[in-house]
Amino acid sequence: MEGLSENKLVWRNKWGVDILKLEIGRIYIKDIQLGNETTVKNGILTVDKEGLITKLKEDERIKDVKIDVARPGEKVRIIPVKDVIEPRVKVSGGVNGFPGVTAKQAQCGDGVTHVLYGAAVVTVGDIVGFQEGVIDMWGEGARWTPFSKTFNLTVDINVVEGLTPHVHEETVRVAGLRAAEFVGTAGKDIKPDEVLAYEMGSIFEESAKYPNLPKVIYAEMMITQGLLHDTYIYGVNAQNILPALLHVNEELDGAVVSGNCVAACDKITTYQHQNNSVINDLYAQHGKEINFLGCIMVPEHTTLGGKLRASEYTLKLAKMLGADAVVISEEGYGNPDSDLLMICKKCEKAGIKTVLITDECAGRDGMSQPLADTAQEAVAVVSGGNVSHVVTLPPADKVIGNPEAIAVLAGGWKGALLEDGTLMCELNAVIGSTSEIGFHNVTCRLY
């Protein structure tokens, strides 16, 4: 690190090459109130409700917006959740917002970003009738979702009639991101309570610094299969990409956005991309136990040809970078299980060790064989939890979103919706309950 260049806020190394250096300043949020201005004072986030509605309705595809707040402990249920986003603001470097989506193209992962830590924007709205995804802010349901602990600003989007499903999805997705951007600006001039620094030189520099540490790369699989099953990197639909190498800072700073709203339990919400636990954990070990090389963003294709291509390309990138080990996280369940094992088998055969993170479907009692696909090479597998585990959710005092969607959760088996309104559903329906990047509440215990 040689210091700041004269005219722009970029750190340069001794060869004059830019280094991505990210500072995330967390401003602790203790409550959200609706009001007439958007500010943070003493940890209280006030949101200009009408201003936000006006802002979102600039998009003429939006007919109606309902804004509400759900706080930890309140007997409130949010359903059906489309996405969860952390409100942030760019203080220096890059541009504010999500480059390629809500803002012009810019480099993510560089400069200073302020985070309204403890707050979340939750987008709500039916795109299809079978959409699930519930957040309970209290009781049994709250135990299973990480978003029962955040102060949630809910943004319920009603679109004008006649939109195609694709346009409807895009409208709701972008509205959530714009809402997070709007709210995040409140943190611009506030002194953070905590500052996290993320700094990584080039792969060659880091490898020279830590010649004896094993080189580890993270392969993050993303659902990229069409409507309601998409992920975007810098606004590019990842369905159309070859596996792409990202600097470890980029995803933590808004480069990756979720466009996926069917796999409630194991989809990676935008919030979880912004706070990817695998990246954070590997970062924490960088220079100590491992040399963390970077992230390979791996699209999960529908076709076998696509799966073969993506898995081979991932292996090739890992080899080119000299990786000794790959941590692979899955998104979703079903056909992506094949991709996970393809990458695992190919890497292990090439002498690159693998750790797999997935979730399992082990039946109501957890005793069934959890994974249909097996491979002898998959020797280190971390489970994010059993998606079939049944939870009992008592009736809420208040439902934000569409109360009829509750029946969708219960659908499919008798006795699930009891007379008093108590609901029995599988973890499958609970947002973030079996996260395959470890951003959740479930853990494993050895008996």
Partner: protein
């Protein structure tokens, strides 16, 4: 490359050529796909979708290649695993017929995405 689309989705039958329509359940589709794979057809699209919720869909569409001389063992392994996985889930859950219209639409959109994705003729 010629493709064969196996489906129980009437909207797919309406819109595409080379469709083998089965008036039956998703399980019937998977069974038929298995039989065709054993006869030498290869899988172009994976028989399962990417989320659990779609597992409860009343509709399933799978794209196969035209018949080859030899059985593609990779395809055979995948369809066998998919049938096991599908049965595992449907032991507990029923098909969600209430939203069948929406499932029909998403099924066709995901099929179109798969067909766009498959550019080669390997």
């Amino acid at each position: 490359m010629k493709k064969l689309i196996i489906t129980n989705n009437p909207a797919v039958k309406e819109k595409f050529k080379n469709v083998f329509f089965i008036d039956g359940s998703p399980q019937d589709i998977l069974t038929k796909v298995r039989d065709l794979v054993h006869q030498g057809h290869g899988l172009i699209s994976h028989p399962l979708s990417a989320s659990l919720r779609m597992m409860f869909s009343p509709y399933r569409t799978v794209v196969l290649s035209t018949k080859k001389e030899q059985i593609d063992f990779f395809s055979a392994e995948i369809i066998e695993d998919s049938i096991i996985k599908y049965k595992n889930h449907m032991n507990y859950r029923k098909i969600d017929n209430v939203h069948s219209e929406d499932y029909q639409v998403i099924d066709i959109l995901l099929l179109e995405a798969a067909l766009n994705e498959d550019t080669g003729s390997w």
